[in-house]
């Protein structure tokens, strides 16, 4: 546990007036291990620790707490700050219907999240439309239909050849039936698949979503920076969703995604049931990552 590890390093600090650079440096080596065990990306961890080092060096050793606890507080505060604010506010379009586009790698939890978002917005008095725009995965449309039915939310599914066309048809349907917002479930795809990434760009250009939400699996390891950065460079997504947090993955991917995209994590998914959606709390995530 982090406190015990750092306590050992700082035992020698008793009686010294200031947190010295060498002592901090040694302590941060241990913190780096903790971060890597939590799946924080190597470079992100390095940059993060450099900032902690800057903040910690030269600080006076407060009498009332151990030097280790002092450094941990700096680490914790720095991480909470980096993980961002607690706002799960979703932007609304000036011209309805508002479109929320949901994207991400294969299997990250997009379809389930779309249904959860639909339920969440319905509970707040909106009349959402779920759009089954994954034309590729076997029974993807059936999956969204079944989920939509279970929560009494309208779902749009059309036998289109291309996802962007299906999305446009869904917009017409939404306008005709006064459904708002429109939540688009897209097929999972690799960030290195140029054709499929261009498809997302096309949907974005034709529909002008108020939000593009990047859904990431909380057990993702070092690769989180690669996929997040690529999706962000292509689409400038406005928010991230972290899923499967009902597991015991430490979730360092959260820090990695924040660090490379600067976008807020808006919601977390904490179970398979459709009510398992929570607002993201940076302090809780920081505790989880630091173990």
């Amino acid at each position: 546990e982090l406190t015990q590890k750092l306590d050992k390093v700082f035992r020698r600090l008793r009686g010294m007036g200031i947190l010295s650079e060498t002592n901090i440096h040694n302590a941060l080596r241990d913190v780096r291990r903790v971060l890597l065990e939590s799946d924080v990306n190597l470079k992100v961890a390095r940059d993060f620790l450099a900032r902690v080092q800057e903040r910690a060096v030269g600080q006076e050793v407060i009498g009332s707490v151990s030097p280790a606890q002092q450094v941990i507080k700096i680490i914790f505060d720095e991480m909470v700050e980096l993980l961002g604010g607690e706002s799960a506010r979703l932007l609304v379009s000036p011209r309805p219907p508002t479109v929320y586009m949901v994207v991400g790698l294969q299997g990250s939890g997009k379809t389930t999240f779309c249904a959860k978002l639909g339920l969440h917005l319905k509970t707040k008095g909106r009349r959402p439309l779920l759009v089954a725009a994954d034309l590729q995965r076997p029974a993807a449309q059936e999956q969204l239909e079944i989920l939509a039915e279970s929560i009494g939310v309208t779902v749009f599914r059309e036998k289109a050849n291309r996802a962007p066309d299906a999305c446009e048809a869904a917009m017409d349907y939404a306008r005709r039936n006064s459904l708002d917002p429109v939540i688009i479930d897209t097929a999972g795809r690799l960030h290195i698949d140029q054709v499929l990434m261009a498809e997302l760009e096309e949907i974005q250009q034709r529909l002008s979503p108020a939000e593009i939400l990047f859904v990431a699996d909380s057990m993702t390891g070092q690769d989180a920076v690669n996929s997040a950065k690529a999706f962000y460079d292509k689409l400038q997504f406005s928010g991230a969703i972290l899923t499967k947090l009902d597991g015991d993955a430490r979730g360092g991917a959260a820090l990695s995604i924040r660090a490379v995209t600067q976008q807020p994590i808006k919601f977390i998914s904490t179970g398979e049931k459709l009510d398992a959606l929570e607002v993201f709390h940076p302090s809780r995530m920081a505790s989880r990552i630091l173990g």
Binding site: L36, P138, S150, G221, D223
Partner: protein, 278 residues
């Protein structure tokens, strides 16, 4: 890693970075570098450091390969249970495996053991159609163990070579779901002592250190006989495989590198090692 480099501290630091960035994890990285240093002493500069590192990685994976003997290879149907956490690619892998065995002119039957997730049965049905396999299924919400048992009976009666059973994705932290998995295995075992002949844990290549915890917990519930690494067509290296293989002493059987029927290959340690360092 230009040719002609010595295995000095600078190279070791670079290798450490590459391995850690590939999700190999601390302990296994230390282990690999220590083995590299030993190998380098014996090698006395005859081999390039990168090639030596590949050999060290491949041999670590080979140890697990050697530790397992194929169980009851001649029994029919050979029952393959496919398990893992949510979204890793189990159902798709079953489609690919069905195709793989069908290409060997084997009779394959599928059983829709995921009775929980929306459209899971419909999804497997499409793979059954694509591969020309029969599928046993029940209703959404039916008892998973009962459906898998029915599938086994059916496969025996029809003289199938393989029965591949899909199961619902589940987090290892959910004890009731792990108990359900134990029950599925128990029910198969009651029918025939040797079943399930294979229990494949499907792992997503993007998974970080939690992959090791997953493997340990799954194997506690129901002994894993092989690993399948999926989504290796992405940029993730799947380095967690090394820790898992080393800790569980279980071989990697297949890799999935795409969403199509043909996107499955028998695992090759040298190819994997090259990809890890590349």
């Amino acid at each position: 890693f230009k040719p002609g480099r010595k295995i000095d501290d600078e190279l070791l630091a670079e290798l450490e970075e590459v391995l850690l960035s590939s999700d190999v994890g601390w302990e296994t990285t230390d282990e690999l570098l220590s083995r590299l240093k030993d190998a380098a002493k014996e090698d006395r500069g005859k081999t390039e450091p990168e090639e030596l590192m590949r050999q060290v990685i491949a041999s670590l994976l080979g140890e697990a390969e050697a530790a397992t003997e194929p169980a009851d290879n001649n029994e029919k149907p050979r029952v393959i249970l496919v398990v893992g956490v949510n979204g890793t690619g189990k159902t798709t892998t079953i489609g690919k495996l069905a195709h793989y065995y069908r290409q060997q002119n084997k009779n394959v039957m599928l059983v829709a053991g995921d009775t929980f997730r929306a459209a899971a049965i419909e999804q497997l049905k499409i793979w059954a159609e694509r591969t020309g396999c029969q599928m046993v299924s029940s209703m959404h919400g039916a008892d998973a163990a009962a459906v898998v048992y029915d599938g086994f009976e059916s496969a025996i009666n029809r003289g199938m070579d393989y029965l591949i059973a899909d199961t619902a994705g589940r987090l290892h932290t959910k004890s009731n779901l792990m108990k359900e998995l134990e029950k599925v295995a128990r029910v198969l075992k009651k029918k025939r002592e040797t079943a399930p002949h294979e229990v494949l844990l499907v792992l997503d290549a993007t998974t970080g250190q939690n992959g090791l915890v997953q493997a340990k917990e799954f194997t506690r519930a129901i002994p894993i006989t092989g690993l399948v690494l999926t989504k290796i067509d992405g940029t993730a290296k799947g380095g967690i495989l090394l820790s898992i293989s080393r800790t569980l002493n279980v071989p990697v059987k297949f890799v999935g590198f795409g969403e199509g029927l043909d996107d499955l290959a028998v695992f090759d340690a040298d190819t994997f090692a090259a990809g890890l360092l590349g």
